[in-house]
Assembly symmetry: D2
Homo-oligomer: 278 residues x 4
C-alpha cells in the first residue's frame, strides 16, 4: 500500500511506532483489543434526557457517553445545540454514571471551555481540514476523536491526525463515518475498507460511526457488526430515549431496546473475532 | 426506504414476493441462511490449474467453483481469456469435484455455448445495463449471477434484475462488488450497506465479491467477514494456486492457505450470525 | 499528462497519429475546425415528428439528425423505442432533408440492420465497455459515435475507442456526456475538462452532449456554449417539436425556438474561437 | 429546480432579492456584467515577486490581485505561507498598483488582522463548512469570496453563504473551484453547470477558479473560456513569475505570457457573451 503524495504522514505511521496505540480514558482503554462503544444522543436536549440516556446505555454495556453541545449544521436556521448549558448537562450525566464524556468542539476559541467538561474532544467531519482547530485540541492534552471528512481520502485523514501528533499529543482516535458517493439510498457510503487499511498504515485506534453514514435505524445494526468484523476498535452510536421526537438525527438514532439488541449481537461477534485474530 | 423513480422494480421486490428466494444449484442452496462460498481463479489458465484449484478450494469448504473463460478487459491488448477451451476446462474441473461452475458470459451470441458448460451464468459489472444480454441469459433457464456495475445505484441493480425476472427466470443472485469513488487506496469502495438494503427491498439472495473491490489480498479477509456480518448470503472470492504469477488479478487473489484461513474465520462468524438472527 | 495503466491506448493516441482525424459523413466534416451540430429527438415517435424535426433543425443550422429507434432504459417497463419502424422513419427524414442520420445500436445482432438505415452508429454510455458491440460496429465500416460511460475515466474511454480502431475502423467520434457525482441538482456532472484532455491525448474528434448531463432545458444553452469554448468539435442536442409531451427525456429537450437561439449564440462563439485558435 | 432540504437558504435566493448583487471593491465592480479577473500567485513568497506579479497582471488587464499569506495544507510539513509578513507584502503590492487585494483567512482569530491588509476576505474550500469563520468574516464588513468545498453540493454552498448574509453582510462572491470525483487526470472536476444553476437560484455573483480544478497549466485557458461562456462573473487565476520554481501549485500556475494570451481570448469571448445575453 503506497501513499500518493511526496510528503508522508510520519508520526501516525506504523514505521514510526510499531505497537498499536492504546488510549486510556478514565476506566476505558481504546485500542486494547476489545471493541469500545460510545453511545448517546446527537445533541444534548436537557439534563433529564442525557442522564436517562447515560444510565440506559451504561446498563446495556456502553463504555463512553456522547452528546453534542455545539452542533455543526449545514443551515444556520437548524438547531445548533445548547452550548455551555449542554456541556454542563453532559458533564453531570458523566459524573453520575462514571461514563467518560465525548463531545464535539467547533472552533479554537471553545477548546478550553469544552476541555473542562469533556474527557475526549471530538473534531467532526466538517473540521478535519481545520488546522487551527487540530492544533488547538492537540494543546488541550485531552484525547482527540478525529472523524474522517466525507470527501477526504484515507491519506488525508492520516495527515489531519499528524497535525495533532506533531504538537506532542499522541492520543488520537480515528473514526470512519462514511464518504460521499453517488448512491442516494444512504446519506453516506460507509467505507469499511478504511478500517483494515488504517490499522495497517497507522498505530492509532480506529472506530466506526455507522449511524451518520447509513442514516436509517434498521441499517445501523448490520453495519455495526460489519465494522467490528472488519477489525474496528470500537463504535460510535446515536441513541435517544425517543428517536421520533429527537431535535436532530432522529431517523438514524437507536432506541434503548434496539441498542440493547445491538450490544448482545456485538458481544458474540467480538468473541469470535478475538478467537481468530489470535 | 423509498425508490427514486416513478416506475419501480416489481417482480424482484418484497412486496411482490415476501419470502426470500432460495436458489438450488446442484447440491448447493443459495439464500437458504448459510453463506455459500464461490471460489476460483479470475481466469482459467489451463486444465491443471483449474482442476487443482477446484480440489483445493473444495477441501477447504468452497461450495461452487468460479473461473473466467471470456474476460471483459478495459484494454483490447490485455489477456481476454481462453474462450471455449477455458469453458471445457472449467466444466471438467467441475465434473471431477462435483462443484457447480460459475462463469461470465459477455454477449448474447455466447449464451447457448456457455450454458452447455456452466451451472450459473454471470453477468459482470460492465454488462449490468446490457438489456439484450440480460434477456438472453434469462432465456437460458440457468441461474444468473448479476453483478452491480461500479457506478450503478442500488435501484438500478434491482431494475437490471427485473430484465431477467420479467422473462420468467426468477433464479437471480445479486452481487455487490464495489462502487467507484474518489478513494485511491482501493480499486473500488465496497458498499456493504447495499447488503441489508437489498435484502430489505428484494427477495433475491445477495452475495459479495470483496476481491475486486479492495484489490489487495490482505484486505480480502476482513472485508469478507464484514460482508457476512452485514448479512450477505455468500461470497465470491478469487483464489489462485500461485497468485504472483496469475495472468490477471494476481494482487487480489488468495493462495490456498489464505483461503483456508478465511474459511475457518468465516465458520465462526456464520455460527454467531445464525444465533442472533433467529 | 500520464496514463495510469501499463498498457496504453495506441492507435487513438497523438503519438501514433499527430494530425487531427477529420471524419467525412455525406456533406459534413467532423473534426475540421468548425463545430458540427447533431440535433433531434431522444426517440423517433412517428414519421411526422421526425420529419418535422429534421426540417426545423436544418433550417436553424443543424448538420446531422439524431433520433433513437432502440432505446436503452434503466427499467424494462419504460418506452424502449419503435425499433425497425423507427429506423425507417429516421432514414426517410434523413433522405428528405439530406441530413446524415445518427442512431444508437444496442447489440451486435442489430449492427447490420442499423447500418442499412443510419450514417453514423452510436454506442451509448451504457455500452462503452461492451467489447463485442464495439467490434461489431467497427466491422460495419460506418463512422462510430462513442459516448463516455458515466462511470468511465478518460483513459477508459480511449481504450474503448481502441477496440474500434484496432479492427481497422478509424472513424470514431468521442463524446463527453456527463459523469456521475454526488451533486443532485444535475442528472450528471458535465466534465468539460475532458474535452481539452482528449484533444491533447488523441487525434479523434470530440463532441459534447450537454442535454443528458444537465437534464434541464435552460441549462443546455450555457453548457453548449461552454463546450464549444473549451474546444469541442461539435454538440449533440435533444430537440423535440413539443418537449412537454415527449415520450422520453422531455425536460431536457429544446423546442425549435430555443434551438434557434442556441444556434445563433453558437455562431458568434465559434467565430471568436476560430480567431484565437489560429 | 428544487432544493432537497426542508430548510431553504433564504437571503441568498432570487426569491428574496430579484436583482443581481453587484459588489464594489475599490474601482472594481463584481457582478456588473463584465467578467472580472483576479490574478496572482498561490502564495506570496517575497515582496519583489508579489509586486512584480501585480504589475505584470495589471498590465495585461487583471482587476484584482490574489496572494496567499496563510495557506491551508493537507500536510503539516508543507509550506504554510509567510503569515503576517506575507500580508504586508500583498498590501504593499496592492498599494503600488491600485489593484484591490484578495487573500485567504483560516481562523476566526485572524480575521481582524487580515482585514487590515486585504480588500476581500477569502474563505477557502476546506473552510466552507466552518460556521465560526463564516460568522467572523461576516462581521468584518469586508466582501467575502466563498469557495465551494470539493465535497459540497450546490445547495450546501448556498447555505454557507447564508451564514454570512444572516449577519448582515450581503457582499458575498461565490466561487466554483472543482469537485472531487473518480477521474484521476484532473485534481478536481470543474463543475461548470454550477455556474448557471447558482446564477439561477441566487442573486450573488459567481466566479470560477479553473487553476485548482484542472491542476495543469495548459488546461487553464480552455476551462477559463468555458467558464465565461457558461456565464461566470469572473475568474480567479494562479499566475507566477516563474511557475517552475513556485513554492506551491507551480504546475497549475500561468506565466505572464500565458496569462496575457488568456486575457486576449477572454476579451473576445466576453464581447460575444454580452451581445447574445442582451
Amino acid at each position: 500500500m503506497k501513499m500518493t503524495s511526496n510528503l508522508h504522514p510520519k508520526l501516525c505511521s506504523r514505521s514510526y511506532k510499531k505497537e498499536p496505540t492504546c488510549i486510556e480514558v478514565g476506566p476505558v482503554y481504546v485500542g486494547a483489543g476489545n471493541p469500545v462503544v460510545i453511545a448517546g444522543p446527537c445533541a444534548v436536549e436537557d439534563l433529564d434526557m442525557i442522564t436517562e440516556t447515560a444510565r440506559e446505555v451504561q446498563a446495556r454495556g456502553a463504555d463512553l457517553l456522547r452528546g453534542g453541545a455545539f452542533k455543526p449544521r449545514t443551515s444556520p436556521y437548524s438547531f445548533r445545540g445548547l452550548g455551555l448549558k449542554g456541556l454542563k448537562h453532559l458533564a453531570e450525566a458523566s459524573r453520575i454514571t462514571g461514563l467518560p464524556a465525548v463531545t464535539e468542539v467547533l472552533t479554537p476559541n471553545d477548546v478550553l471551555k469544552v476541555s473542562k467538561y469533556a474527557d475526549i474532544l471530538q473534531v467532526g467531519a466538517r473540521n478535519m481540514h481545520n488546522a487551527a482547530l487540530l492544533e488547538a485540541v492537540a494543546g488541550s492534552g485531552k484525547p482527540v476523536l478525529l472523524k474522517r471528512a466525507w470527501m477526504a481520502t484515507i491519506e488525508e485523514l492520516l495527515f489531519a491526525s499528524e497535525y495533532v501528533l506533531q504538537r506532542g499529543n499522541f492520543r488520537v482516535i480515528l473514526c470512519e463515518r462514511g464518504i460521499r458517493t453517488f448512491e442516494p439510498m444512504t446519506r453516506f457510503t460507509l467505507d469499511l475498507s478504511a478500517v483494515p487499511i488504517l490499522k495497517d498504515l497507522s498505530h492509532l485506534p480506529v472506530i466506526v460511526d455507522p449511524s451518520h453514514a447509513v442514516g436509517r435505524r434498521h441499517l445501523v445494526l448490520p453495519m455495526a457488526l460489519a465494522a467490528i468484523a472488519a477489525g474496528a476498535d470500537g463504535l460510535m452510536l446515536e441513541v435517544h430515549p425517543n428517536p421520533e421526537s429527537a431535535l436532530s438525527d432522529g431517523p438514524q438514532s437507536l432506541g434503548f431496546e434496539e441498542f440493547g439488541q445491538l450490544m448482545r449481537s456485538l458481544e458474540s461477534i467480538s468473541a469470535v473475532r478475538t478467537s481468530f485474530r489470535t
